[in-house]
Amino acid sequence: MPKITIDGQTIEVAEGTTILKAAGQAGIDIPHLCYHPAFPPEGSCRLCLVEIEGAPKLELACATVVREGMVVKTQSEKVKEARRSVLEFLLAEHPLDCPICDKAGECQLQDYYELYGLFESRYRETKEKKEKLVRLGRHLLLDRERCIQCTRCVRFLLEITRTGELGVFERGIKSIIGFYEGEPVDNNYSGNLAEICPVGAITDLDFRFKTRRWLLDSRPSLCPLCSRNCAINIEFHRGLARIELGQRVFRIRSRENPQVNQYWICDLGRYSYRYLDENRIDRPYQLVNGRRMNLSWEKLFILLSEKIRALRIRKKTSRIVLVLNSALTNEELFLMRRLFLEELAVSRFIFCDPPEEKGDSFLLTAERVPNRRGAEKIGFDVKSREEVLREDKIDLLLIFAAHLPEKMPLNWLSPLASQIGAKFLFASQESKLSQLVDFVAPVTPVAEKAGSFINVDGLMQSFEAALNPWGESRPEWEILVNLAREIPVNYRYFGRFNSPRAIREAMAEEKLIMSERP
């Protein structure tokens, strides 16, 4: 374990560590553009040059492995001047696009200029003119004038997706990024290119000209669209005074998670966020002869608990059917089991997960629900068992659709609808399903609640709410706890559950489920 000194600090690092990584461990940031931790060092931007005692020239921090006794200076005059000069070179041929560039506020060139530049431009020649609106594929635009030739995009496609669509064409100052005609970047990970581009050369069409980075807050969550459960950040407007905004969420970004998705998310997860702000159910309502009558949650709980109580007294809870999917959290599934299966002796459960679609060999799974493993671990049979429908009459049907009412395969519902007593739908989105039931109540999607999932590899991850609930939406776990109070059922047990964390603790105590570690 070599010991080295960086800026006067002595630290011990693992054999084979680069100066850049060692500095990071010591809390020292060495600026870099072409380096990305997912790829081997490239060494072309020259921004990370540092001074090593005894070495005649400045050396690259990203590519130089530390040796015992090495003394490194990252703040000497020589280093500062070298950094300033790299920035000067880059800015000399860089268009002054900041006012119209989407990267403003999260641009490495801007950030480093503020930290290590702050010089007046001395470029008095004519800048190179290149194409500024090159469509790279479905989601991306390339501005060749802004490109600093860091080649992160080229290397991402060669090393991570192994699709290699982009290349460097021409030579010298005329170098540009490009692709072969007819073979643009159309893989399921293209959106990552806009994230790893340090400047505004590759930008996201989805985000183009919509807002500014500094108007957004960023909160962590998990992507609920497949069973990988990638770590994401949801970026939303923190709100502007007196201005009505049409949408809250402006984009999804990847969040680093070495165990699950490293630095990446797929385009499906990145671009499918509109459901969070569109087509939401605002408040509970009842459908009477096709007409919508708003209900309060209190009223809804009273109505529903009455029906359950009535069946319970007559020992007819066998006439209750629960339709679930694997988008529910571990905590919610646990409560379902405790409350319905065990307390109320409701055994008729059907899991109606959306049909599997094509997965890829990287992150996206064929399963398009986040928590099938959780459901299985809690003891549910996740195969859709439609024979359950015929076991007895159905006096009460409860559908917990989470954010998937459009996608749940419920073809059996329409023909059976008239024979079913009362039908309750708990979902986040409006859908055709709403017309087939009697009562509709809004639930919070994953982005708006806390909980935990178990992903395809058996890894349990918990998450907190990133957004405020839409309208009067409530999380399913809260609904179940309130229901237990209303019916009432063993409220001494259920009444303790004032948060998903509390539920998880109970699950751990009851040895039903697991800790955070896989």
């Binding site: 982009l166 290349g167 064409f169 072969y180 073979e183």
Partner: protein, 157 residues
Amino acid sequence: MSAPVFEVIRKEIEAILPRYPRKEAALLPALHIVQRKLGFIPPEGEKLVAQLLEIKPVRVREVVTFYTMFTRKPLGKYHLQVCSNLSCSLAGGESILKYLEEKLGIKAGETTPDGRFTLSTVECLGACDQSPCLMVNDDLYGQLDRAKVDELLATLE
């Protein structure tokens, strides 16, 4: 693009592949073969090379656009490559270039309308003791003056 010449190109490229430990190493010689047969490197040529070397066309395009000898635009029958580097310039290379531009009626980088001549400037040709030099396709001509240029052009039908 007539099919027979592509068959010839394919066979020639296949013949050189075994010389290299990896197919993709044959990219530059393969492109030379294409350019010699077709006079330039069209997309069909790039795609054929990509297919034979089992690489993506974009890798071929990266190489074609990097090296100055490869061209994606057709050249004239005679590619006049005039050295514009130091020793040739000291020997009067600039005036040879100007003379050619006058005589052919085109500027460096252009091709005569009848397709006979393309005029280019190139960097050092490695024949500085014979400055000023130019190459016509693969042949080097040195110690040029106006008279020699006239003589040379007369032989190029």
